[in-house]
């Protein structure tokens, strides 16, 4: 029984959150306790399925799941003429890494939301949307089908936009949500058009099949641009970052943490398309697209942090830092992409840079999620996000302060937290690619530290203030949610080598192994 259940993990990964999402309105009729129990159960089961699937992938290699087939492994039916006709989930080590991120974050966020949203109304819709967003993210990172990717992208965008605007907040949140919805829709239409171009030429939607047939004509290049730009926009890269401050600031804090994960699923899509769909060693222009990512990354890192420094709204400040940190990921993976065709450079520092970039994805999801949750905790008790009005909260909210410190030190790249581990990988490898970019990355890190010292000081330091006399520590479920993320931040900082060896290195190898991805579906060539 256990073994057959393990076989169906990829399906359960999306079926469980979907089922929970649609069951919530029914459970809501039975009362608050029933709904909370269901949310907790659904989140726990989803994470369990995700972690079990990831463990299986890291242990045994790529996992395939063919929906609707008599046997979940049969990618190519006997009578289809060598074409995979069904929707296939293909989870390789890179997908598994993203599944781990989404599983851990969604569990922490569900726990946190249970307490943070307990005094609000309309919880049926809120939690349904939350689980739909989780479904979208998990689907995006595990699907092996282009159109299916678009569908999950839409699910995550629509659920995300609805959640951003869920607490209307005098219309401000609606503006943030509308901006996100509009840009996501434009982006998704562009992705759909690109998929249409590819489908019209190659009669296939399966990523591996399209990759194996790709001819690198001018139409394919148009499709690549139509795919890459919206996905770069969705992950918040400068100069397409303008939606992030509004959207991240106005969303409920737990949702902001989940939107960070969702933006990283777009990042995953970008990498998957560049490396797997288009990454033919000889025919792909590695240098151009590598530098495209490198420049996007350097710009994002620098512009993000300089925009963050003057902010007075703590969540807006963190949103700009999210843009800045995304820059590191683009920079790291971009360096790997730029030197891909040069086997010596790739082995010498390209793969290290990519490992740094991918490690930074999981690290960032954890510490930035943690930071947004602490900002939400402060807002939950004080009702303000304005740094000029906050102060002296360290006396009343010690746990939140400790979690904030952990997150802030991690984002600034201070050892022994996880941000240091991935940034070090990026510095040393990018230095061999271009010393200027490495120095830029370090400067950004210093500015990040400066900015968070300011935030820490103005939120937690100083004598207790009269207007916050009634402020207490946040309820236990919120602390538990933050603790999950904080535990990962510390663990990945103390033993980074374990994570790099077990998860990141296989993910890098999966990303560069285009032939392996194709062969998993179509058989050996």
């Amino acid at each position: 029984m256990m073994d057959s259940l393990a076989l169906h993990l990829p399906a359960l990964l999306v079926a469980i959150p979907l089922f929970t999402a649609f069951l919530i309105p029914l459970a809501g009729r039975a009362g608050d306790t029933a709904r909370s129990a269901l949310v907790l159960l659904g989140a726990a089961l989803t994470s369990l399925a995700g972690l079990a699937l990831a463990a299986r992938v890291f242990a045994r290699g790529t996992v395939l799941y063919v929906f609707g087939a008599a046997a979940p492994h049969a990618a190519i039916p006997m009578d289809s003429g060598g074409i995979p006709i069904r929707i296939i989930f293909q989870v390789d080590a890179l997908g598994a890494l993203m599944v781990v991120i989404a599983s851990l974050s969604s569990l922490a966020i569900a726990l946190y939301s249970l307490a943070a949203e307990s005094r609000q109304s309309g919880k049926d819709g809120f939690y349904s949307m939350l689980f739909l967003l989780v479904t979208g993210v998990l689907g995006m990172v595990s699907t092996g089908d282009l159109f299916n990717f678009f569908v999950f992208l839409e699910i995550s965008s629509l659920a995300g936009a609805a959640l951003v605007a869920y607490r209307i907040d005098k219309g401000e949140a609606v503006e943030g949500g509308l901006k996100y919805a509009l840009l996501s829709t434009v982006g998704a239409l562009s992705v759909l058009m690109a998929i249409g171009i590819l489908f019209a030429q190659y009669n296939a939607l399966n990523i591996a099949t399209v990759a194996s047939r790709l001819r690198f004509g001018s139409l394919d290049m148009i499709a690549l641009v139509l795919l890459a730009v919206p996905l770069a926009m969705k992950c918040g890269a400068v100069p397409m970052h303008f939606w992030t401050p509004d959207t991240y600031t106005t969303a409920p804090s737990s949702i902001t943490a989940l939107l960070v994960v969702s933006s990283q699923a777009s990042l995953y899509g970008l990498f998957r398309i560049l490396f797997t769909l288009y990454g033919d060693l000889l025919r792909f222009n590695w240098a151009v697209f590598g530098w495209f990512l490198v420049i996007l990354g350097a710009l994002s890192a620098f512009v993000g942090v300089t925009m963050a420094i003057p902010q007075k709204d703590v969540k807006r400040l963190m949103a700009y830092h999210a843009v800045s940190q995304t820059g590191y990921m683009l920079l790291g993976v971009g360096v790997g992409l730029a030197v891909f065709a040069d086997a010596g450079a790739l082995a010498a520092y390209g793969k290290t840079a990519m490992a740094g970039g991918l490690f930074h994805i999981i690290n960032h999801a954890m510490y930035k999620g943690l930071l947004f949750l602490t900002a939400g905790a402060v807002f939950y008790r004080t009702g303000t996000r304005n740094l000029n009005r906050l102060g002296g909260l360290g006396h009343a909210m010690p746990w939140t302060m400790v979690f904030f410190m952990i997150g802030a030190l991690a984002i600034a790249g201070i050892p022994p937290f996880n941000g240091f581990a991935s940034k070090l990988l990026i510095y040393e490898s990018v230095f061999r690619f271009s010393p200027f970019l490495a120095i830029l990355a370090m400067v950004v890190s210093i500015l990040t530290l400066a900015s968070f010292v300011k935030v820490f000081h103005s939120m937690f330091m100083g004598p207790p203030r009269a207007e916050f006399a009634g402020v207490r520590e946040v309820p236990a479920p919120m602390i538990a949610g933050m603790a999950i993320l904080a535990a990962f931040v510390i663990l990945a900082g103390l033993v980074p080598q374990v994570f790099v060896d077990r998860m990141i290195a296989p993910a890098v190898n999966a990303l560069v192994d285009r032939a392996g991805y194709i062969a998993a579906i179509l058989g050996g060539h």
């Binding site: 399906a11 309105p25 609707g68 008599a70």
Partner: protein, 155 residues
């Protein structure tokens, strides 16, 4: 607002036909153009007819938002359950274990060109019915929300 008696009577007459036609589109989804979404939308059009011909307060007595939300959730749950049933039938998620197995939708498909039998296709009609229920509920909720904002004005 209440429309004239002519409009109201026509809408009342049309309503059952809309529902029947919607049901037809849903149930024949595996044979003819259409399917769960389209059929559900046709049924919701019937609800839209009633909504525009009558006062919002009058209509919510028979078309309740709660019932429609229930339809939405139940339809979607049916869909996922049907998908999970594939696991118990020994295949993958959404495996069509019912096709050709006898029973209500399990008649084997005749070989060669034929107009198609209603009692075929196994899981697919069930999925269509689930989607039909969901879309009927979802679209009607949307219509009710939109029309709840309409203000009464004297002509």
């Amino acid at each position: 607002m209440n429309m004239t008696k002519i409009v109201r009577t026509t809408a009342d007459l049309f309503y059952p036909f809309c529902l029947v036609f919607g049901l037809y589109v849903v149930l024949h989804g595996h044979l003819t153009p259409g399917g769960g979404f389209q059929g559900g939308a046709v049924m919701a059009t019937g609800a839209a007819l009633l909504l525009v011909s009558r006062r919002y307060e009058d209509i919510t007595r028979s078309l309740r938002q709660n019932t429609m939300k229930l339809c939405e959730a139940v339809g979607l749950l049916m869909f996922i359950t049907a998908g999970l049933a594939g696991l118990f039938a020994g295949g993958a998620f959404l495996y069509n274990g019912l096709a050709g197995a006898g029973g209500l939708f399990g008649e084997p498909v005749a070989f060669g060109a034929n107009p198609g039998g209603l009692n075929t296709a196994g899981l697919i009609p069930l999925l269509n019915i689930a989607v039909g229920i969901e879309v009927l509920g979802g679209l009607t909720v949307i219509l009710l929300y939109m029309l709840s904002g309409v203000k009464e004005t004297e002509p």
